[in-house]
């Protein structure tokens, strides 16, 4: 058993603290090869992870890198460094702690490679980069422990798959390496343990603490009929901010956070110090807010998922969630952000943004009360991530295929990977993996004897620049216009920037700015206080509402009346029941009505945003074939709204499962969702390079869209690895076909089609959804031709 050094024990005692049982357990199991600790926020789980390291390093005999700490957030590494400094300096321990992220300076990163600290705090991407250097074996040779923080969050994305591959690599470089995973409460601890270590992993569970104090905020003004943002609740929210020390106000998207922050600021008559924090803001901006927060200078922060995870803000005593939480597990984790004292209940308020979300919030509250968590089982490790990993390994040193295969299958997500799939990935990385034999002289990897290596070692630099599995939408930096570069304000999506003309205004960082022009791929703006903004359409990650929540909502719909719901929402549901129907779990409600010169079809499938989007794509394809000229659609978690030039009178044929499944195969072709999935896959697997800020050419574009590559592969090489990966990826991710199958199985052909004369209460919010997706078909060709003719006529040309 490990024991703490006396100086540390004294320091803890002097603080009046004592170790929690799970912290003690971590210490006594320090020699275990793999441990997963599940503890609520505020349970001191990060310290629990580090205690064995502090004990082992206390006598100052060990040199070099001992412990690697990996967190999903850059901000978290800086925070942990601050928090660890207290015990290390307090107990006078001879331990050097440094962090290394994308923000670390070049000089410091070089120094860290030459002389690594005892404890290195980093992110999965920075670790991958570090492993790609030739020096990696030397840096990691003596590594003893790896701590993966917030592993539950990492395990939900490809970042986790990449990290587990990197851990396998680390174990090759330093056999006997011990792994520790730190996780918030999850629905399936065994699966997470297998993810961390497929050869066996102990699970420690801390006392979950008392139930949270959570409620829906009742306001004098009812939430609006539709839309998002929760701005109606601003007076009530300000009141809550005044009554608490520090409040975190979570939003589901960045755009909503921006709009909310601006209006909150306008209503903030007492000038309470309130900040905003989200991933689109410039680093300098975010750091300023983080520092002010740590110093206790802010009363509230308007934020998004960027503050979902672990930064210990100390005095947060209230969490407000604006908009429906979509997922109970995430809600529980967010609630945990309040009151970081162990064994004190966290306090949280839910603010539904509109009437529908009142229902969803009610369902979420019930689920939290019943301790039910949602979660979808994860599929096997994705192959595009594996392709990138093979490139990364090749950058660091030549390798033998057998060895690398063995190493890869020691990673949890790839434990079941067969050799054929591995070889296909290797072939893709080396030759492109095309049916047409090409590039034999110009292979990316070549084999000399048993070893694979880069044909051109200079390619390593490009490969390193493309490491990572987070695929951002193309963004442009926003700066204040000035002769000397100008203050960076943040980023907007390129597609959004393309819609701007000089003079347009939009919101960023809570202020209204005026678009002045584009200079060297930077959006130049001037401040324009007091003007109404044109809404920024940049989005955060879109989460689909979980099966658990949608089922609870459908069940709630079947109540005769809704005493648990505020009167305005109960009245709205009653009105829907009166003019149309309320959706049921075992039937599919379809409404058809004209509006604003277009025919509309609302399908209430309640299958989550991604599946509803797929359903829309399949149904619009069938409508196109039937000559119904669909023009576009929008999908939400509960419904899909399709508009077109012709009315749908008999929807039943549109929903035949076999036909939909056929459509899935055929349609997998030319649609936007598949192309988006392909783009991400192609970037991760290394088929194309990311476009880096500032590196893009401003003149004639040398690049062309990945859509062309996608169409080319479909036509000439339909069995190509990347198309197979895109299909798998889409079916379980953006396409989510399984939830359509579940829904249709539930419904068993019981489709209720109602022809109505106008928009129904339940359909109204759909019209305000952003992210409308056009259908490229006859309908659109008709409209484009008409628009061009009009322009010609207006210009006096014929």
């Amino acid at each position: 058993m490990n024991t703490l050094p006396p100086t540390l024990t004294d320091w803890i005692a002097a603080k009046g603290w004592s170790l929690h049982p799970h912290q003690q357990d971590m210490l006594s199991r320090a020699k275990d090869p793999a441990t997963l600790l599940i503890a609520p926020t505020g349970g001191g789980k990060t310290l629990a992870g580090f205690l064995p390291t502090l004990a082992e390093l206390a006598d100052g005999r060990l040199r070099g890198l001992h412990t690697l700490y990996i967190s999903p957030l850059k901000a978290l590494t800086a925070d942990i460094r601050r928090n660890l400094r207290a015990p290390v300096e307090g107990a006078n321990l001879p331990i050097r702690i440094e962090d290394r992220t994308g923000d670390t300076t070049y000089t410091q990163r070089r120094r860290q490679r030459a002389d690594p600290p005892h404890i290195l705090l980093t992110t999965p991407e920075s670790l991958a980069l570090l492993l790609s250097y030739e020096a990696a074996p030397r840096i990691f040779a003596g590594l003893q422990r790896v701590i993966v923080d917030e592993i539950h969050a990492l395990a939900e994305s490809k970042r986790g798959d990449q990290l587990m591959l990197c851990l396998s690599r680390l174990e090759t470089l330093s056999p006997g390496l011990r792994r520790v995973g730190l996780s918030a409460t999850v629905e399936d601890p065994l699966a997470l343990a297998r993810f961390l270590s497929p050869t066996g992993c102990a699970i420690l569970t801390a006392d979950p603490g008392p139930d949270p104090d959570i409620a829906m905020l009742e306001t004098d003004t009812p939430p609006p009929w539709s839309g998002g943002g929760g701005r109606y609740a601003i007076p009530a929210i300000l009141e809550q901010v005044k009554r608490h020390t520090t409040t975190l106000i979570f939003h589901n998207t960045r755009a909503q956070a921006e709009l909310f922050f601006r209006d909150l600021w306008l209503a903030n008559e007492d000038s309470l110090p309130i900040g905003i924090h989200h991933g689109s803001l410039a680093r300098e901006q975010r750091e300023r807010v983080e520092t002010a927060m740590t110093e206790g200078k802010l009363r509230a922060i308007v934020c998004t998922g960027s503050l979902d995870l672990g930064i210990d803000w100390g005095d947060v005593d209230l969490v407000i969630q604006v908009g429906a939480p979509k997922n109970v597990k995430r809600l529980v984790q967010r609630i945990g952000r309040a009151n970081h004292r162990y064994n004190a209940p966290s306090k949280a308020l839910l603010i539904p943004a509109n009437r529908f979300e009142v229902v969803e919030c009610r369902a979420a509250l019930d689920a939290v009360r019943d301790h039910t968590l949602d979660g979808e089982p994860r599929g096997p490790g994705p192959k595009d991530v594996l392709c990138q990993h093979i490139l990364l390994v090749a950058c660091s040193a030549p390798f033998a295929a057998d060895d690398l295969y063995a190493e890869v299958t020691r990673a949890g997500p790839y434990a079941d990977l067969n050799r054929r799939d591995f070889d296909a990935c290797l072939d893709f990385v080396a030759t492109g993996g095309y049916a047409l034999a090409a590039y034999d002289r110009w292979q990316r990897l070549q084999q000399t004897g048993p070893l694979w290596h880069l044909r051109d070692p200079r390619a390593a630099a490009v490969i390193r620049q493309n490491l990572g599995t987070i695929i951002d939408t193309e963004t442009l930096k926003v700066r204040l216009k000035s002769r000397f570069g100008g203050t960076p304000l943040g980023e907007v999506e390129e597609a959004f920037a393309a819609t701007l003309t000089p003079g347009d205004t939009f919101l960023i960082g809570g202020e209204v700015v005026r678009y002045e022009g584009l200079r060297e791929m930077t959006v130049e703006v001037t401040r324009q206080p007091g003007r109404d903004p044109k809404v920024a359409t940049f989005n955060g990650t879109k989460f689909a509402t979980s099966t658990l929540l949608t089922e609870r909502i459908l069940t709630m719909f079947q109540q005769e009346s809704w005493p648990d719901l505020p009167a305005h929402t109960a009245g709205w549901l009653a009105l829907q029941r009166q003019v149309s129907r309320l959706p049921q779990s075992d039937r599919l409600l379809v409404e058809s009505f004209p509006h604003d010169g277009r025919e509309h079809l609302a399908i209430y499938g309640f299958a989550g945003r991604n599946a509803m989007q797929t359903l829309a794509l399949l149904v619009t394809k069938r409508m196109e074939e039937a000559g119904l000229a669909p023009l576009g659609f929008v999908a939400t978690d509960y419904a899909t709204l399709i508009w077109g030039l012709e009315p749908v009178t008999d929807p039943a044929p549109l929903f035949e499962l076999d036909a939909l499944r056929d459509g899935l195969e055929g349609w997998l072709g030319g649609n936007a969702v598949m192309k988006r999935t392909f783009r991400a896959t192609a970037i991760i697997a290394g088929l194309i390079e990311r476009s880096h800020q500032g590196r893009r050419k401003t003149g004639r574009q040398a690049t062309f869209s990945t859509d062309i590559l996608y169409d080319t592969l479909r036509k000439y090489d339909p069995d190509h690895l990347l198309l197979r990966v895109t299909r798998e990826e889409a079916e379980r991710g953006l396409v989510d076909f399984s939830r359509i199958e579940d829904m249709l199985a539930r419904v068993q052909g019981r489709i209720d089609c109602l022809r109505l004369t106008r928009v129904t209460p339940l359909a109204a919010p759909l019209f305000l959804e952003p992210s409308k997706i056009p259908v490229q078909g006859q309908g659109r060709e008709r409209l484009v031709a008409e628009a061009a003719e009009r322009l010609m006529r207006d210009a006096g040309l014929t």
Binding site: A438, R458, A498, T703, F704, L713, D717, V784, M792, A795
Partner: protein, 216 residues
Amino acid sequence: MTSYPFTLADADLMALPSGALHWPAQSTLCVSDLHLGKSGRMARRGGSLLPPYEVRATLEKLDADIETTHPARVICLGDSFDDLTAVGELEDHARLWLARLMAGRDWVWIEGNHDAGPVEIGGSHRAELRLGALTFRHIASGPGGEISGHYHPKARLGGTARPCFLLDTDRLILPAYGHYTGGLPCEDVTLQSLMRPKALAILTGPRVIPMPMPRR
């Protein structure tokens, strides 16, 4: 509209949906910026291994246009190959295909900035070509009756960007015909200053769509 008829320097021309230009009176077909061998060039330079099908895709399209227009003369308006090495690396299959398309036709390779200098593949090689009142060259530079390529113009309409012809009373700029080619938005300052105020953008795609050239 399957193709857009117009007049430039008294010549009656047709813009085809594929991005090719047809001059029936001279039995001439003109295409620009084929960029054959682009994937090979990228691979050679240690970059990505793109799907090696752009030669096939481009030749298929050209084959189809030749099939419909039966031209006696084909003018490739420069940047036909991504670079000179790409000519040497052309696969036998593609080389034969090209030879078949060239057979019995007056085939003119105009020099581009990517493939300056003669290519060892038959046909005639010119810096520029005058035919009647029209001048064919790679980069727009002169007055009156000029047909050029080089810029890969494209225009947005209804949310999608498509390669387009740019046409005014003096000149025509062709879209890039090659399969792996990006584009330069019409709003770019170079194109804006090249084209006269009342210029048209003729969008390619399933069919040609003429519209006023988008202005800044």
